[in-house]
Amino acid sequence: MGDPDSSLRSIEEIDPTLPDAAPFLELVSISKTYPGVVALRDVGLFVAPGEVIGLIGENGAGKSTLMRVLGGVVAPTKGMIRIDGAESASLTVNEATAAGIAFVHQELNLFDNLDVAANVFIGREPLWGGPLKLVDRKAMYGRVRPLLDRLDVDFRPETPVSELSIAQQQLLEIAKALSFDARLVIMDEPTSSLTLTETSRLLEVVAALKTSGVSVIFISHRLNEIEQCADRVVVLRDGCTVGALDRRQIHHDAMIRLMIGRDLKSLYAPPAAPPGSTMLDIEAMRTSTYPADPVSLSVRKGEILGLAGLIGSGRTELARAVFGIDHPRAGAIRLEGQPIVVGSPRDAIDRGIYLIPEDRKRSGLLLDVSITENISLPDLASYSHATLVQESAETANAELQRRRLRIKVPDVGDQVSTLSGGNQQKVVLAKWLSMRPRVIIFDEPTRGVDVGSKSEIYEIMRELADAGVAILMISSDMEEVIGVSDRIAVMREGRISGFLDRGDFSEHNVLKLAVGSTIN
């Protein structure tokens, strides 16, 4: 993989001199092959105490497999694992735990019917009463409290998990990891559903772990987070280590270049023309989550309006109300000046108002159904004569969309579940692009999507806008909001706290409106 770019150095050239300590954990030329697939090839990785490693790579690059090897879930086909000098060919889950390797998963594995302490000690509760095996609740709460103190969290051992926010649950997972005396905490996309403030809180926790000598492997698609917290970045592509960057070399462009193996065209294209007349008007809409807060905003033809704000600020509720999923308490919608009534998603769809939901697996797709059938689902009437579905027409359209959106799949008859996150999102897009969009609401359009597909999705959004579609983009990804939007509306606790024009875009300004701090 000799990339003839002088600013990049392959891993062999980098002298692995480490700040203070020698690595306690080393993976040496790990390979893992599945029948017909090489998931990892000669991957090496070392971790020193108190080191934060950013692990990046596009989806399918082998990050998860590598972490599964570390966790003892997957045995490598070849290679060696050295922990504190002891060599072995593979780990079991118990060995990994004993070695102090702990995971904070992307999908949280918590029991929300139990409280915090019970979750930390699930399966290894302190007992009393001899053969009766009763749970020693006092000891359990007593032992959890110092862990929570160490992370400086704002919930207690007795708090039911169902009352915790996603961010708090993440911190609970970290507390759980610490309860195993973890020396290495692996965080897989920990910030993908966190707000900005929660993210910076998490990064503080990472820094605190580091000072107390705990190492962290931080996997994320959000490169600015990696920039902020990593001491060293390891980049995987196609199952190989394609490079490593030390503290001084870590910056955005270098990481992207290594991840995709080429320079990315500028991620964000500017609009071709100034926006046209108003397409969508939302007037004094009050959702049932925030019944006292009327929201008004309008999106013009050809405009991408970014809707920023913290999670829970009422953005998704607004989108659901406009799309007819929820019934708003009050408010009016006008489309090109005409008042319309949206009582169901069907009403919205018939008028060309489409929603790309934030959770595509739950709300966007039928996972074990073919790509073709997913694409035609909202518009089946157009593919049928006398209510009988014409499969050839469906397939023809699916083929068209596959080429247009560059959905990477051998056959449009394949199930959606076989696709990567980015390609799945393209299928959701294809549903709406097969019809006649006037307004498209994107709710977190690139969550869990790799960098390559991300830029393609941005391109499509811009193309749509240039073709006169009004786009409302809800996003918690600051880079995305600032990069993609033509104008930003910020929501706070159910209200619009302000609008920003291109000239005023900055993280600071968005954040100020989102959290409502009145600095200056």
Partner: protein
């Protein structure tokens, strides 16, 4: 889907061949004709049950509906002297009304289908027994309904029972509805992922309710055939457990109780296999007390075997897909080693 149905078809042929070998009477015209009649009786409502199962629901009240509708049917004919054709239509309508009540409770009141139809199972049978004073509902001696008798009990050219023909017609119509129409697509979509279906603009509540109403209509139709076949109704036993035949046929035919899967052909084959097993018990001199045990055993083995096959096929496809990918674009890793 097709492979699944083919597997079931082969299983039917094998069982039939074994039974025919052990007892040649199996192939006699009278036996085949009788078995076909049973298949028709049980198959019609099994298709309705299958529709409900595809939405991820279940209808446990079918057997009790037979008792209630049967009692009402005889009452209409005997007590109220209603024309038989109108009575038949009223039975279908009655089933649809019960179905729409189930659909309303499931979709609007957000009750679980199991609970709703379990209550239906108890209520309908109780009401039927009350109406007859826990006795029998039967036709008056000597009173005949020649047209109705011909429709429900006669055999086409003296060979093919009309119940079977009715079943075949229902299967063809419902097959087209399920596998070719927009509504059928919606039914599968709702069963796979109700929320995603809603986000695609499908009126999911209407689709689910429609499945219960269709099930009710087919149950109403089947209740006419049932009543005529038994020539009377004893509400305490009439149709007991029959919903389980419907569920078993649907599951054997590839419907998943999680919803979103199934085919009419599969349900048809499932109904045939169930009746074949009944016939097997009779013809091979197996104690009839073992009837259910044989059926349960075959369903268990059948579904288990099918799932193992699906798992194997999934693994094989994944392998082929991987090989195909490698061919198209050998991964960097492979290139490096070359």
């Amino acid at each position: 889907m097709l492979k699944k149905d083919l597997g079931l078809f082969i299983l039917i042929l094998v069982v039939a061949a074994v039974v025919a070998f052990l007892n040649p009477r199996f192939l006699s015209q009278i036996n085949i004709s009788n078995t076909a009649n049973q298949v028709g009786l049980f198959g019609i409502f099994s298709i309705g049950e299958g529709f409900v199962i595809i939405t991820g629901g279940i209808d446990l009240s079918v057997g009790s509906q037979f008792a209630l509708l049967g009692v009402l049917f005889i009452d209409l004919l005997v007590t109220y002297q209603v024309h038989w054709a109108i009575a038949v239509l009223l039975m279908v309508a009655g089933g649809m009304i019960l179905g729409s009540i189930h659909g309303f409770l499931v979709t609007r009141m957000r009750m679980q289908p199991f609970v709703v139809t379990l209550c239906g199972l108890l209520i309908y049978r109780g009401v039927a027994r009350y109406i007859t004073g826990d006795g029998n509902a039967g036709f008056a001696f000597g009173e005949t309904y020649p047209w109705l008798d011909w429709l429900t009990k006669a055999k086409f050219f003296g060979v093919v029972p009309h119940t079977f023909i009715a079943f075949a017609l229902v299967a063809i119509v419902m097959g087209i509805v399920l596998h070719r129409t927009v509504f059928g697509r919606y039914l599968f979509a709702v069963g796979k992922n109700e929320e995603a279906a809603r986000y695609s603009g499908i009126n999911t509540r209407r689709v689910i309710a429609a499945a219960y109403i269709i099930c009710g209509a087919l149950t109403g139709l089947a209740s006419v055939f049932m009543t005529m076949y038994v020539n009377g109704v004893t509400p305490s036993v009439h149709g007991n457990f029959y919903e389980l035949y419907g569920i078993a046929a649907a599951v054997l035919g590839g419907c998943s109780l999680r919803g979103g899967e199934g085919s009419v052909l599969g349900i048809v084959l499932g109904s045939i296999l169930l009746q074949l097993l009944q016939n097997l018990v009779n013809l091979l001199g197996i104690p009839s007390s073992l009837n259910f045990a044989v059926m349960g055993g075959v369903i268990l083995v059948g579904v288990l075997g099918d799932q193992q096959l699906v798992r194997y096929r999934g693994w094989a496809t994944a392998r082929r897909a991987a090989a195909r990918l490698e061919e198209a674009a050998p991964s960097a890793a492979v290139k490096q080693s070359a």
